[in-house]
Amino acid sequence: MDRIVVSGIRKTFQLKPGQYVTVDGEETDRVTVLDGVDLNIRKGEFITLVGPSGSGKSVLLDIIGGLTQASKGIVQLDGTTITRPDPKTGYVFQQYALFPWRTALSNIEYALEVRGVPKRERSDRARYFLALFGLSGFEDRYPNQLSGGMQQRVAIARALASNPEVLLMDEPFAALDAQTREILQSELLKIWEKINTTVIFVTHSIDEAIYLADRIVVMTARPGTVKEIIDIDLQRPRDGDIRSSTEFNAYRARVWEALRDEVNKAQKDWALSPAYAN
Protein backbone atom coordinates (compact mmCIF):
# COMPACT_ATOMS: atom_id res chain seq x y z
CA MET A 1 0.00 0.00 0.00
CA ASP A 2 1.30 3.45 -0.88
CA ARG A 3 1.59 5.79 2.05
CA ILE A 4 2.80 8.81 0.11
CA VAL A 5 1.97 9.61 -3.48
CA VAL A 6 3.82 12.49 -5.10
CA SER A 7 2.38 13.38 -8.47
CA GLY A 8 3.51 15.98 -10.96
CA ILE A 9 5.16 18.23 -8.39
CA ARG A 10 6.56 21.41 -9.87
CA LYS A 11 8.04 24.25 -7.86
CA THR A 12 9.04 27.63 -9.18
CA PHE A 13 10.57 30.33 -7.05
CA GLN A 14 9.94 33.95 -7.81
CA LEU A 15 13.06 35.98 -7.17
CA LYS A 16 12.95 39.26 -5.30
CA PRO A 17 12.12 42.35 -7.34
CA GLY A 18 15.24 43.44 -9.20
CA GLN A 19 16.94 40.04 -8.98
CA TYR A 20 17.62 38.18 -12.17
CA VAL A 21 19.41 35.01 -13.08
CA THR A 22 20.45 33.66 -16.45
CA VAL A 23 18.90 30.30 -17.24
CA ASP A 24 19.78 28.70 -20.58
CA GLY A 25 21.02 32.01 -21.90
CA GLU A 26 17.88 33.91 -20.93
CA GLU A 27 17.40 36.43 -18.15
CA THR A 28 14.57 35.55 -15.83
CA ASP A 29 13.30 36.33 -12.36
CA ARG A 30 11.81 32.87 -11.94
CA VAL A 31 13.70 29.71 -11.15
CA THR A 32 12.20 26.27 -11.49
CA VAL A 33 13.69 23.88 -8.96
CA LEU A 34 11.33 20.93 -9.32
CA ASP A 35 9.89 20.02 -12.67
CA GLY A 36 7.39 17.20 -12.49
CA VAL A 37 8.32 14.85 -9.67
CA ASP A 38 6.39 11.58 -9.43
CA LEU A 39 7.09 9.19 -6.60
CA ASN A 40 5.18 6.50 -4.73
CA ILE A 41 6.37 5.55 -1.29
CA ARG A 42 5.16 2.46 0.47
CA LYS A 43 4.19 2.18 4.10
CA GLY A 44 7.17 1.57 6.35
CA GLU A 45 9.69 2.13 3.58
CA PHE A 46 13.07 3.79 4.09
CA ILE A 47 13.69 6.10 1.15
CA THR A 48 16.88 8.07 0.68
CA LEU A 49 16.92 11.02 -1.65
CA VAL A 50 20.20 11.89 -3.38
CA GLY A 51 21.00 14.43 -6.04
CA PRO A 52 23.37 17.27 -6.81
CA SER A 53 23.08 20.59 -5.00
CA GLY A 54 20.13 22.56 -6.26
CA SER A 55 18.18 19.53 -7.39
CA GLY A 56 15.38 20.50 -5.04
CA LYS A 57 15.65 17.61 -2.56
CA SER A 58 15.00 19.79 0.44
CA VAL A 59 12.23 21.65 -1.34
CA LEU A 60 10.57 18.35 -2.15
CA LEU A 61 10.85 17.37 1.50
CA ASP A 62 9.29 20.68 2.54
CA ILE A 63 6.42 20.11 0.14
CA ILE A 64 5.82 16.59 1.48
CA GLY A 65 6.02 18.04 4.99
CA GLY A 66 3.41 20.66 4.15
CA LEU A 67 5.84 23.50 4.88
CA THR A 68 5.94 24.80 1.31
CA GLN A 69 3.24 24.79 -1.32
CA ALA A 70 4.00 23.27 -4.68
CA SER A 71 3.43 25.44 -7.74
CA LYS A 72 1.78 22.48 -9.47
CA GLY A 73 0.93 18.90 -8.62
CA ILE A 74 -0.15 17.25 -5.38
CA VAL A 75 1.23 15.15 -2.57
CA GLN A 76 -1.08 12.72 -0.84
CA LEU A 77 -0.54 11.14 2.53
CA ASP A 78 -2.81 8.12 2.99
CA GLY A 79 -5.05 9.49 0.28
CA THR A 80 -5.36 12.98 1.77
CA THR A 81 -3.83 15.91 -0.09
CA ILE A 82 -1.23 17.73 1.99
CA THR A 83 -1.68 21.46 2.34
CA ARG A 84 -0.14 22.05 5.74
CA PRO A 85 2.07 20.21 8.23
CA ASP A 86 0.36 16.96 9.12
CA PRO A 87 0.41 15.79 12.75
CA LYS A 88 1.35 12.33 11.44
CA THR A 89 4.62 13.70 10.05
CA GLY A 90 7.85 14.33 11.94
CA TYR A 91 10.67 16.49 10.61
CA VAL A 92 14.39 16.42 11.43
CA PHE A 93 16.70 19.20 10.24
CA GLN A 94 20.41 19.33 9.55
CA GLN A 95 20.95 22.08 12.12
CA TYR A 96 18.96 20.22 14.82
CA ALA A 97 16.56 23.16 15.32
CA LEU A 98 16.22 22.54 19.04
CA PHE A 99 14.78 25.35 21.12
CA PRO A 100 17.82 26.68 23.00
CA TRP A 101 15.73 27.89 25.96
CA ARG A 102 14.29 24.44 26.57
CA THR A 103 16.07 21.51 28.15
CA ALA A 104 16.53 18.24 26.26
CA LEU A 105 13.46 16.76 27.93
CA SER A 106 11.38 19.86 27.43
CA ASN A 107 12.36 20.04 23.75
CA ILE A 108 10.91 16.58 23.22
CA GLU A 109 7.85 17.45 25.28
CA TYR A 110 7.23 20.40 22.98
CA ALA A 111 6.20 18.12 20.13
CA LEU A 112 3.61 16.55 22.44
CA GLU A 113 2.54 19.84 23.99
CA VAL A 114 1.45 21.35 20.68
CA ARG A 115 -0.43 18.15 19.88
CA GLY A 116 -2.36 18.42 23.13
CA VAL A 117 -0.93 15.39 24.92
CA PRO A 118 -1.60 15.57 28.70
CA LYS A 119 1.29 16.73 30.86
CA ARG A 120 1.92 13.49 32.69
CA GLU A 121 2.05 11.45 29.49
CA ARG A 122 4.27 14.05 27.84
CA SER A 123 6.93 13.66 30.43
CA ASP A 124 6.79 9.86 30.40
CA ARG A 125 7.02 9.64 26.65
CA ALA A 126 9.78 12.21 26.41
CA ARG A 127 11.79 10.25 29.00
CA TYR A 128 11.20 7.03 27.11
CA PHE A 129 12.53 8.51 23.87
CA LEU A 130 15.52 10.10 25.58
CA ALA A 131 16.35 6.71 27.03
CA LEU A 132 15.91 5.09 23.62
CA PHE A 133 18.69 7.33 22.33
CA GLY A 134 20.88 6.66 25.35
CA LEU A 135 20.39 10.12 26.79
CA SER A 136 19.01 9.28 30.22
CA GLY A 137 20.64 11.63 32.69
CA PHE A 138 20.72 14.48 30.20
CA GLU A 139 17.08 15.50 30.71
CA ASP A 140 17.91 18.88 32.20
CA ARG A 141 20.70 19.88 29.84
CA TYR A 142 20.18 22.79 27.53
CA PRO A 143 21.06 22.25 23.86
CA ASN A 144 24.24 24.28 24.13
CA GLN A 145 25.42 21.92 26.85
CA LEU A 146 25.16 18.94 24.49
CA SER A 147 27.45 17.83 21.67
CA GLY A 148 26.22 17.96 18.07
CA GLY A 149 25.53 14.25 18.03
CA MET A 150 23.53 14.45 21.26
CA GLN A 151 21.58 17.43 20.00
CA GLN A 152 20.63 15.56 16.86
CA ARG A 153 19.58 12.55 18.96
CA VAL A 154 17.30 14.84 20.93
CA ALA A 155 15.94 16.29 17.69
CA ILE A 156 15.20 12.81 16.30
CA ALA A 157 13.65 11.81 19.62
CA ARG A 158 11.48 14.93 19.41
CA ALA A 159 10.34 13.99 15.91
CA LEU A 160 9.59 10.41 16.96
CA ALA A 161 7.92 11.21 20.27
CA SER A 162 4.61 11.92 18.61
CA ASN A 163 4.66 8.50 16.91
CA PRO A 164 4.74 9.88 13.39
CA GLU A 165 3.78 7.71 10.48
CA VAL A 166 6.18 9.59 8.25
CA LEU A 167 9.61 10.85 9.26
CA LEU A 168 11.22 13.46 7.01
CA MET A 169 14.95 13.94 7.52
CA ASP A 170 16.86 16.70 5.75
CA GLU A 171 20.56 15.80 5.80
CA PRO A 172 20.31 15.15 9.53
CA PHE A 173 23.87 13.87 9.96
CA ALA A 174 25.67 16.20 7.56
CA ALA A 175 26.93 18.49 10.31
CA LEU A 176 28.37 15.66 12.39
CA ASP A 177 31.83 14.15 12.34
CA ALA A 178 32.32 10.85 10.50
CA GLN A 179 32.32 8.58 13.57
CA THR A 180 29.27 10.15 15.17
CA ARG A 181 27.55 10.01 11.82
CA GLU A 182 28.05 6.24 11.49
CA ILE A 183 26.94 5.63 15.06
CA LEU A 184 23.79 7.65 14.51
CA GLN A 185 23.06 5.86 11.24
CA SER A 186 23.12 2.51 13.07
CA GLU A 187 21.03 3.87 15.94
CA LEU A 188 18.49 5.25 13.52
CA LEU A 189 18.22 1.92 11.69
CA LYS A 190 17.80 -0.03 14.93
CA ILE A 191 15.02 2.24 16.11
CA TRP A 192 13.39 2.36 12.69
CA GLU A 193 13.32 -1.43 12.55
CA LYS A 194 11.37 -1.37 15.81
CA ILE A 195 8.82 1.29 14.95
CA ASN A 196 8.59 0.89 11.16
CA THR A 197 7.88 4.48 10.35
CA THR A 198 8.04 5.55 6.72
CA VAL A 199 11.25 7.56 6.34
CA ILE A 200 12.31 9.98 3.63
CA PHE A 201 15.94 10.87 4.19
CA VAL A 202 17.82 13.48 2.14
CA THR A 203 21.57 13.06 1.98
CA HIS A 204 24.63 14.03 -0.02
CA SER A 205 26.49 10.92 1.00
CA ILE A 206 26.21 7.94 -1.32
CA ASP A 207 27.34 5.54 1.43
CA GLU A 208 24.75 6.86 3.82
CA ALA A 209 22.08 6.59 1.15
CA ILE A 210 22.90 2.93 0.44
CA TYR A 211 23.38 1.90 4.05
CA LEU A 212 20.01 3.19 5.16
CA ALA A 213 17.72 2.74 2.22
CA ASP A 214 15.21 0.28 0.89
CA ARG A 215 15.19 2.42 -2.24
CA ILE A 216 17.38 5.30 -3.34
CA VAL A 217 15.72 8.05 -5.34
CA VAL A 218 18.29 9.79 -7.54
CA MET A 219 17.31 13.31 -8.55
CA THR A 220 18.52 15.14 -11.67
CA ALA A 221 20.26 18.50 -11.66
CA ARG A 222 18.02 21.57 -11.56
CA PRO A 223 15.18 21.56 -12.47
CA GLY A 224 14.88 18.42 -10.40
CA THR A 225 12.99 15.34 -11.45
CA VAL A 226 13.37 11.70 -10.49
CA LYS A 227 16.20 10.32 -12.60
CA GLU A 228 16.30 6.79 -11.30
CA ILE A 229 15.07 4.70 -8.40
CA ILE A 230 17.52 2.07 -7.20
CA ASP A 231 16.32 -0.83 -5.04
CA ILE A 232 18.79 -1.76 -2.32
CA ASP A 233 18.56 -5.48 -1.65
CA LEU A 234 20.89 -5.70 1.30
CA GLN A 235 19.75 -7.90 4.14
CA ARG A 236 18.43 -6.34 7.33
CA PRO A 237 19.31 -5.79 10.07
CA ARG A 238 22.42 -4.20 8.62
CA ASP A 239 25.60 -3.56 10.52
CA GLY A 240 28.47 -1.23 9.72
CA ASP A 241 30.62 -3.97 8.14
CA ILE A 242 28.22 -4.21 5.27
CA ARG A 243 29.88 -1.11 3.84
CA SER A 244 32.93 -3.12 2.81
CA SER A 245 30.95 -5.93 1.12
CA THR A 246 31.08 -6.48 -2.65
CA GLU A 247 27.36 -5.85 -3.02
CA PHE A 248 27.70 -2.53 -1.26
CA ASN A 249 30.54 -1.59 -3.60
CA ALA A 250 28.44 -2.50 -6.59
CA TYR A 251 25.66 -0.24 -5.36
CA ARG A 252 28.16 2.52 -4.74
CA ALA A 253 29.28 2.33 -8.38
CA ARG A 254 25.73 2.23 -9.59
CA VAL A 255 24.53 5.23 -7.62
CA TRP A 256 27.56 7.23 -8.61
CA GLU A 257 26.96 6.27 -12.24
CA ALA A 258 23.44 7.68 -11.98
CA LEU A 259 24.63 10.79 -10.23
CA ARG A 260 27.76 11.71 -12.18
CA ASP A 261 26.23 13.46 -15.17
CA GLU A 262 23.83 15.32 -12.93
CA VAL A 263 26.60 16.53 -10.66
CA ASN A 264 28.51 17.76 -13.72
CA LYS A 265 25.44 19.60 -14.95
CA ALA A 266 24.90 21.08 -11.51
CA GLN A 267 28.49 22.36 -11.44
CA LYS A 268 27.79 24.47 -14.52
CA ASP A 269 24.66 25.69 -12.81
CA TRP A 270 26.36 26.67 -9.59
CA ALA A 271 26.38 30.39 -10.25
CA LEU A 272 22.63 30.24 -10.10
CA SER A 273 22.30 28.43 -6.84
CA PRO A 274 22.86 31.26 -4.34
CA ALA A 275 19.70 32.88 -5.64
CA TYR A 276 17.43 30.11 -4.45
CA ALA A 277 19.54 27.94 -2.14
CA ASN A 278 17.55 27.37 1.00
Binding site: F13, V31, Q69, A97, Y110, E113
Partner: protein, 288 residues
Protein backbone atom coordinates in the same frame (compact mmCIF):
# COMPACT_ATOMS: atom_id res chain seq x y z
CA UNK B 1 0.12 31.32 4.28
CA UNK B 2 1.80 34.00 6.29
CA UNK B 3 4.56 31.63 7.29
CA UNK B 4 5.20 29.90 4.03
CA UNK B 5 8.42 31.27 2.69
CA UNK B 6 7.86 31.43 -1.03
CA UNK B 7 10.52 33.98 -1.58
CA UNK B 8 13.88 32.54 -2.45
CA UNK B 9 16.94 33.91 -0.81
CA UNK B 10 15.25 34.98 2.38
CA UNK B 11 15.40 31.71 4.19
CA UNK B 12 19.13 31.92 4.67
CA UNK B 13 19.93 29.10 6.96
CA UNK B 14 21.42 30.73 9.99
CA UNK B 15 23.31 28.37 12.17
CA UNK B 16 21.14 28.00 15.21
CA UNK B 17 22.41 29.03 18.59
CA UNK B 18 22.62 25.37 19.37
CA UNK B 19 24.75 24.60 16.36
CA UNK B 20 27.18 27.39 16.92
CA UNK B 21 28.21 26.17 20.30
CA UNK B 22 29.07 22.53 20.41
CA UNK B 23 29.50 20.55 23.59
CA UNK B 24 30.49 22.80 26.37
CA UNK B 25 30.77 21.84 29.98
CA UNK B 26 28.24 23.34 32.31
CA UNK B 27 29.69 26.60 33.39
CA UNK B 28 28.79 28.49 36.52
CA UNK B 29 27.88 32.01 35.59
CA UNK B 30 30.13 34.70 36.81
CA UNK B 31 28.46 36.80 39.43
CA UNK B 32 28.60 40.53 39.14
CA UNK B 33 31.00 40.83 42.02
CA UNK B 34 32.95 37.74 41.14
CA UNK B 35 34.51 39.08 37.99
CA UNK B 36 37.18 41.00 39.90
CA UNK B 37 36.65 44.40 38.30
CA UNK B 38 35.23 45.74 41.56
CA UNK B 39 38.45 45.34 43.52
CA UNK B 40 40.46 46.76 40.63
CA UNK B 41 38.24 49.80 40.43
CA UNK B 42 38.01 50.47 44.14
CA UNK B 43 41.25 52.48 44.64
CA UNK B 44 40.32 55.09 42.06
CA UNK B 45 36.85 55.47 43.54
CA UNK B 46 38.34 55.93 47.03
CA UNK B 47 40.74 58.50 45.61
CA UNK B 48 37.79 60.38 44.13
CA UNK B 49 35.96 60.45 47.47
CA UNK B 50 39.16 61.45 49.25
CA UNK B 51 39.62 64.36 46.89
CA UNK B 52 36.00 65.34 47.49
CA UNK B 53 36.71 65.39 51.20
CA UNK B 54 39.94 67.42 51.17
CA UNK B 55 39.44 69.79 48.24
CA UNK B 56 36.83 71.95 50.04
CA UNK B 57 38.77 71.67 53.31
CA UNK B 58 41.96 72.96 51.70
CA UNK B 59 40.06 75.74 49.98
CA UNK B 60 40.55 74.38 46.45
CA UNK B 61 36.80 74.46 46.12
CA UNK B 62 34.29 76.73 47.83
CA UNK B 63 32.78 74.63 50.66
CA UNK B 64 29.50 76.50 50.37
CA UNK B 65 29.02 75.22 46.82
CA UNK B 66 30.97 72.04 47.31
CA UNK B 67 30.87 70.78 50.90
CA UNK B 68 33.26 68.00 51.95
CA UNK B 69 31.98 64.45 51.63
CA UNK B 70 31.68 64.04 55.39
CA UNK B 71 29.29 67.01 55.56
CA UNK B 72 27.29 65.52 52.71
CA UNK B 73 27.11 62.24 54.61
CA UNK B 74 25.88 64.05 57.68
CA UNK B 75 23.18 65.76 55.62
CA UNK B 76 22.29 62.41 54.12
CA UNK B 77 21.89 60.81 57.57
CA UNK B 78 19.75 63.76 58.64
CA UNK B 79 17.49 63.35 55.61
CA UNK B 80 17.32 59.61 56.11
CA UNK B 81 16.48 59.83 59.81
CA UNK B 82 13.74 62.37 59.28
CA UNK B 83 12.08 60.06 56.75
CA UNK B 84 12.19 62.78 54.09
CA UNK B 85 14.59 60.84 51.91
CA UNK B 86 12.55 57.63 51.94
CA UNK B 87 9.44 59.58 51.01
CA UNK B 88 11.09 61.23 48.01
CA UNK B 89 12.74 57.99 46.87
CA UNK B 90 9.42 56.19 47.12
CA UNK B 91 7.61 58.80 45.06
CA UNK B 92 10.28 58.92 42.34
CA UNK B 93 10.55 55.16 42.05
CA UNK B 94 6.79 54.80 41.94
CA UNK B 95 6.51 57.27 39.07
CA UNK B 96 9.30 55.54 37.17
CA UNK B 97 7.82 52.11 37.81
CA UNK B 98 4.31 53.02 36.68
CA UNK B 99 5.65 54.66 33.52
CA UNK B 100 7.88 51.68 32.81
CA UNK B 101 5.07 49.21 33.51
CA UNK B 102 2.70 50.96 31.13
CA UNK B 103 5.45 51.14 28.53
CA UNK B 104 5.97 47.38 28.77
CA UNK B 105 2.26 46.69 28.38
CA UNK B 106 2.13 48.85 25.27
CA UNK B 107 5.52 48.19 23.69
CA UNK B 108 5.83 44.41 23.87
CA UNK B 109 2.59 43.51 22.04
CA UNK B 110 3.12 46.35 19.59
CA UNK B 111 6.71 45.23 19.01
CA UNK B 112 5.46 41.72 18.31
CA UNK B 113 3.09 42.98 15.64
CA UNK B 114 5.69 45.25 14.09
CA UNK B 115 8.39 42.62 14.16
CA UNK B 116 6.19 39.90 12.76
CA UNK B 117 4.11 41.65 10.13
CA UNK B 118 6.20 43.72 7.79
CA UNK B 119 3.23 45.68 6.46
CA UNK B 120 2.40 46.81 9.98
CA UNK B 121 5.98 47.89 10.47
CA UNK B 122 6.15 49.69 7.13
CA UNK B 123 3.07 51.68 8.06
CA UNK B 124 4.13 52.59 11.58
CA UNK B 125 7.91 52.83 11.34
CA UNK B 126 8.13 56.46 10.24
CA UNK B 127 5.82 57.63 13.01
CA UNK B 128 7.75 55.63 15.60
CA UNK B 129 11.08 57.05 14.38
CA UNK B 130 9.67 60.58 14.52
CA UNK B 131 8.37 60.18 18.07
CA UNK B 132 11.47 58.31 19.20
CA UNK B 133 13.73 61.18 18.19
CA UNK B 134 11.74 63.79 20.06
CA UNK B 135 13.26 64.55 23.47
CA UNK B 136 10.99 63.60 26.33
CA UNK B 137 11.96 66.85 28.10
CA UNK B 138 10.90 68.89 25.09
CA UNK B 139 7.52 67.25 25.49
CA UNK B 140 7.19 67.91 29.23
CA UNK B 141 5.41 71.24 28.63
CA UNK B 142 3.01 69.41 26.32
CA UNK B 143 2.34 66.73 28.93
CA UNK B 144 1.73 69.42 31.54
CA UNK B 145 -0.67 71.27 29.27
CA UNK B 146 -2.55 68.10 28.42
CA UNK B 147 -2.39 66.25 31.72
CA UNK B 148 -1.85 68.96 34.29
CA UNK B 149 0.95 69.45 36.78
CA UNK B 150 0.05 66.35 38.80
CA UNK B 151 1.16 62.73 38.68
CA UNK B 152 -0.14 62.05 35.17
CA UNK B 153 2.38 64.27 33.43
CA UNK B 154 5.28 62.72 35.37
CA UNK B 155 4.10 59.24 34.51
CA UNK B 156 3.69 60.29 30.90
CA UNK B 157 7.30 61.38 30.66
CA UNK B 158 8.63 58.18 32.24
CA UNK B 159 6.41 56.20 29.90
CA UNK B 160 7.68 58.13 26.93
CA UNK B 161 11.28 57.69 28.03
CA UNK B 162 11.08 53.94 28.29
CA UNK B 163 8.57 52.88 25.65
CA UNK B 164 10.86 53.18 22.63
CA UNK B 165 13.71 51.17 24.13
CA UNK B 166 11.26 48.36 24.74
CA UNK B 167 9.58 48.71 21.37
CA UNK B 168 12.75 48.78 19.30
CA UNK B 169 14.27 45.84 21.16
CA UNK B 170 11.11 43.78 20.96
CA UNK B 171 10.96 44.37 17.21
CA UNK B 172 14.57 43.41 16.67
CA UNK B 173 14.18 40.40 18.97
CA UNK B 174 11.17 39.14 17.05
CA UNK B 175 12.87 39.71 13.72
CA UNK B 176 15.99 37.89 14.82
CA UNK B 177 14.19 34.66 15.72
CA UNK B 178 16.02 31.88 13.89
CA UNK B 179 13.80 31.01 10.89
CA UNK B 180 14.81 27.39 11.31
CA UNK B 181 13.15 27.32 14.74
CA UNK B 182 9.97 28.72 13.22
CA UNK B 183 10.12 26.08 10.52
CA UNK B 184 10.69 23.34 13.09
CA UNK B 185 7.78 24.61 15.17
CA UNK B 186 5.51 24.68 12.15
CA UNK B 187 6.59 21.20 11.13
CA UNK B 188 5.26 19.99 14.48
CA UNK B 189 1.92 21.61 13.79
CA UNK B 190 2.35 24.57 16.14
CA UNK B 191 -0.68 26.87 15.98
CA UNK B 192 -0.23 30.59 15.39
CA UNK B 193 -0.98 31.37 19.02
CA UNK B 194 1.49 28.78 20.27
CA UNK B 195 4.06 30.04 17.78
CA UNK B 196 3.96 33.42 19.51
CA UNK B 197 3.74 32.06 23.02
CA UNK B 198 6.14 29.15 22.85
CA UNK B 199 8.64 30.15 20.19
CA UNK B 200 8.77 33.83 19.28
CA UNK B 201 8.32 35.12 22.83
CA UNK B 202 11.01 33.00 24.52
CA UNK B 203 13.35 33.49 21.57
CA UNK B 204 13.07 37.25 21.83
CA UNK B 205 13.25 37.45 25.63
CA UNK B 206 16.99 38.25 25.68
CA UNK B 207 16.47 41.21 23.39
CA UNK B 208 13.38 42.41 25.28
CA UNK B 209 15.15 42.18 28.63
CA UNK B 210 18.12 44.11 27.24
CA UNK B 211 15.67 46.78 26.12
CA UNK B 212 14.00 46.76 29.52
CA UNK B 213 17.34 47.50 31.16
CA UNK B 214 17.80 50.61 29.06
CA UNK B 215 14.15 51.53 29.58
CA UNK B 216 14.30 51.34 33.38
CA UNK B 217 17.41 53.52 33.47
CA UNK B 218 15.88 55.99 31.09
CA UNK B 219 12.63 56.22 33.03
CA UNK B 220 14.51 56.87 36.29
CA UNK B 221 16.58 59.61 34.66
CA UNK B 222 13.46 61.11 33.16
CA UNK B 223 11.55 61.21 36.42
CA UNK B 224 14.41 63.08 38.09
CA UNK B 225 14.48 65.60 35.25
CA UNK B 226 10.74 66.09 35.33
CA UNK B 227 10.74 66.52 39.10
CA UNK B 228 13.41 69.20 38.85
CA UNK B 229 11.35 71.10 36.31
CA UNK B 230 7.85 70.73 37.67
CA UNK B 231 7.04 68.88 40.88
CA UNK B 232 6.54 69.28 44.59
CA UNK B 233 7.97 65.92 45.57
CA UNK B 234 10.48 63.29 44.52
CA UNK B 235 14.24 63.10 44.47
CA UNK B 236 14.56 65.52 41.57
CA UNK B 237 12.50 68.04 43.49
CA UNK B 238 14.67 67.49 46.60
CA UNK B 239 17.86 68.15 44.63
CA UNK B 240 16.49 71.21 42.86
CA UNK B 241 14.87 72.67 45.98
CA UNK B 242 18.03 72.17 48.07
CA UNK B 243 20.01 74.06 45.48
CA UNK B 244 17.56 76.97 45.52
CA UNK B 245 17.68 77.07 49.33
CA UNK B 246 21.48 76.80 49.24
CA UNK B 247 21.24 73.57 51.27
CA UNK B 248 24.14 72.18 49.27
CA UNK B 249 24.68 69.31 51.71
CA UNK B 250 21.15 68.07 51.04
CA UNK B 251 21.62 68.67 47.35
CA UNK B 252 24.67 66.43 47.15
CA UNK B 253 22.98 63.89 49.40
CA UNK B 254 20.14 63.78 46.86
CA UNK B 255 22.56 63.39 43.97
CA UNK B 256 24.46 60.60 45.75
CA UNK B 257 21.18 58.84 46.48
CA UNK B 258 20.37 59.00 42.77
CA UNK B 259 23.72 57.47 41.92
CA UNK B 260 23.21 54.73 44.44
CA UNK B 261 19.74 53.92 43.13
CA UNK B 262 21.09 53.91 39.59
CA UNK B 263 23.83 51.45 40.55
CA UNK B 264 21.55 49.15 42.49
CA UNK B 265 18.88 49.08 39.80
CA UNK B 266 21.46 48.45 37.13
CA UNK B 267 23.01 45.51 38.94
CA UNK B 268 19.58 44.09 39.72
CA UNK B 269 18.73 44.29 36.04
CA UNK B 270 22.00 42.71 34.97
CA UNK B 271 21.30 39.91 37.41
CA UNK B 272 17.76 39.55 36.11
CA UNK B 273 19.00 39.53 32.52
CA UNK B 274 21.44 36.73 33.28
CA UNK B 275 18.78 34.78 35.08
CA UNK B 276 16.27 35.20 32.27
CA UNK B 277 18.76 34.11 29.63
CA UNK B 278 20.59 31.49 31.66
CA UNK B 279 19.94 28.92 28.92
CA UNK B 280 22.45 30.75 26.81
CA UNK B 281 25.07 29.35 29.14
CA UNK B 282 27.35 32.32 28.97
CA UNK B 283 27.37 35.78 30.42
CA UNK B 284 27.97 38.22 27.63
CA UNK B 285 26.32 41.16 29.31
CA UNK B 286 28.47 43.81 30.89
CA UNK B 287 27.06 45.90 33.72
CA UNK B 288 27.06 49.06 31.64
Amino acid sequence: MAYISEKPGIGIRLPSIAARSAARPTRKHKTVRGDGTFSYGLPLLILFFLLWEIAPRLGWLNPIFFPPLSDVCRSWIGLAESGVLAKHIGISLQRAAIGFGLATIVAVPLGFLMGRYSLFEKISDLLVQTLRNTSQFALLPVFILLLGIGEASKIAITFYSSVFFLLVNTISGVKAVDPLLLKAARSMGTSDVDLFRKVILPASIPSIVAGARLAVKSSIFAVIGAEMLAAKSGLGYLIQQSQLMMETGDMYAGILTMTLIGLIVNYLLVWFERWATSWKGQSDTSPH
